[in-house]
Amino acid sequence: MSAALAFATPASAQELAFEAPGPLTSDTGHILVEWQAPGSATLVLARNADFSGARPLYQGDNRAYFISGLEGGDYFLLLRDEAGAQSAPLQVTVAHQSLQRAIWLTIIGAIITLGIIATIIRGARP
């Protein structure tokens, strides 16, 4: 019975799917999303699983889209084709790296750089 139902589903709806098998995570706020589609597709992004307030990110024939600049939190992606068929949603979780660690490493980097500059300037003095 289920096999018969699957067979009856339009081909476009069957093929409209994200390449990633499950939820994606990112610690930098950027991620590459890839998909399969029989033709042109629209990629939409929402902050809620019910896709309220969703906004379109891309519409066209490409099969990938690079998303960047996301703040921390959960996001939900969906594909729609011209016939109105939809893919299964894809969840993306963004958890940025530790800000404390980033600030410490920036301070360390600044100290090293100042040390190098001081050594060169001091050494270059006649």
């Binding site: 610690d27 930098t28 706020g29 950027h30 590459l32 906004r55 990110l57 891309y58 066209g60 490409n62 099969r63 990938a64 889209y65 690079f66 960047s68 600049g69 996301l70 703040e71 940025h96 790296q97 530790s98 800000l99 660690r101 980033a102 600030i103 490493l105 920036t106 360390i108 980097g109 600044a110 090293i112 750089t113 040390g115 190098i116 500059i117 050594t119 060169i120 300037i121 001091r122 050494g123 270059a124």
Partner: protein
Amino acid sequence: MLLQPTTGWILLAIFSVLWVGLGFYWGRRNKSFEDHALAGRNIGLALGSATAVATWITSNTTMLAPQFALELGIWGMLAYSMAAFGLLLFAPMAGRIRTLMPNGYTSGDFFRLRYGRFAWGIFLAFTLFYSLTWLVSMAMAGGILLNALAGIPYVWGMSVILGVCVLYTMRGGLVAVIGTDFIQSLIILIGIVIVGFAVLQNVSVEEIHTNLAESKPMLLTVLFPAALMAIFNNLLFGLGEVFHNNVWWSRAFAFREGVAGKAFTIAGLVWLPIPIAAGFIALASGALGVGIPSSDMVGPLVIANVLGQVGAIAVFIIVFCSLASSIDSLLAATSDLITEDVYRRLLHPLARPETLKRVAQWITLLLGLGTWAVCVPRIGTLASVLFFAGPLVGSMIWPIVTGLYWRRANSTGAIGGMLLGGGIGLIAYFQIGWYVASTIGTAVSMVWVLACAWLSKTQFDWARLREGI
């Protein structure tokens, strides 16, 4: 694909003939290894500045700087431009190098004479790894970009770019490299300025800001962790690349006396805004409605969207010039390093200047063939291989800087600094990410080198650098 393959092939043919022709013409007077490797030590300010700018503008500058901006925002754009400090800080060092080693040939000469053979061996391993990965990544980038831009098959595009650079570098040596760099730098700079103005004609800064604030807010955020970490990581990576590599040392030796400091300062100042201009193009992609299927193609896609076919041709030429100006410099500097440090110092100390020139030419050819063989299978991505070298080059900064200016800097410090800094930096690369590896590698190396210098009672005799050549 932005261009028809026929247009791509025509452009490729025109510029290939131009570079090979100029290389043969400029190289006709080279007689000895010194002529071939160091252009007779007589390069003036204009050519000197241009070659430094052109060599530092790689395909990474025109392709990876937009990628940095798209991924890491304003900080990413600035982080990439921080690599200019490599040239700016090398300016006073180049003067010091010329003073201490007026007859030097390579950065390997410095390590051998200053720190001994063991440190020299580590340096050679690190620098050859870096130079060869840079060379491979540039050649691969050539094939990938020509394929993406004009549909030229990857192997053909990569082979033509590499083949052209090998031909004119073999025949013309450093003088051909510097001469072609001069023209290439002018083309790249004019192209980027035109593209920047064209983008601003199509979209205002306000529109770009509004789009970023709404759809990519982290790109404008000051406290963006990955971007913050990238700032000094990239700066230190850039310092490490310039301070250690024979590409830059060979120029310090080749420039006329008194020219090196000014040339590297001018080059740093000219180079500084280029990644910002290139990055700005990427930040405009959202406001322009350009869908980006791959972050390393953001630059070409936005330019083609704004300028159409003319923009696509401009991208093709800029990319070709960026690649050629870096590949030729790497081929020349690496073949000179192997000729001087391995062939002459280890195998044939009494080799004649004409023989050394011939050996350098053969090594250039072998490097080209080796690079080609590695590139054919197309393994890895544009930047990933090169970033692997970040902690290795970072770990060499302090041994070089202290070795040039402090008598108390010593072999234990240099060897430990390179091994500990490189090793721990690589662990950080795999445990945390590329954006911390150079910072951590340099920090570890710095602590070790400074501790060894502080505890040392030795006083290095600078005359040994002059006498040992």
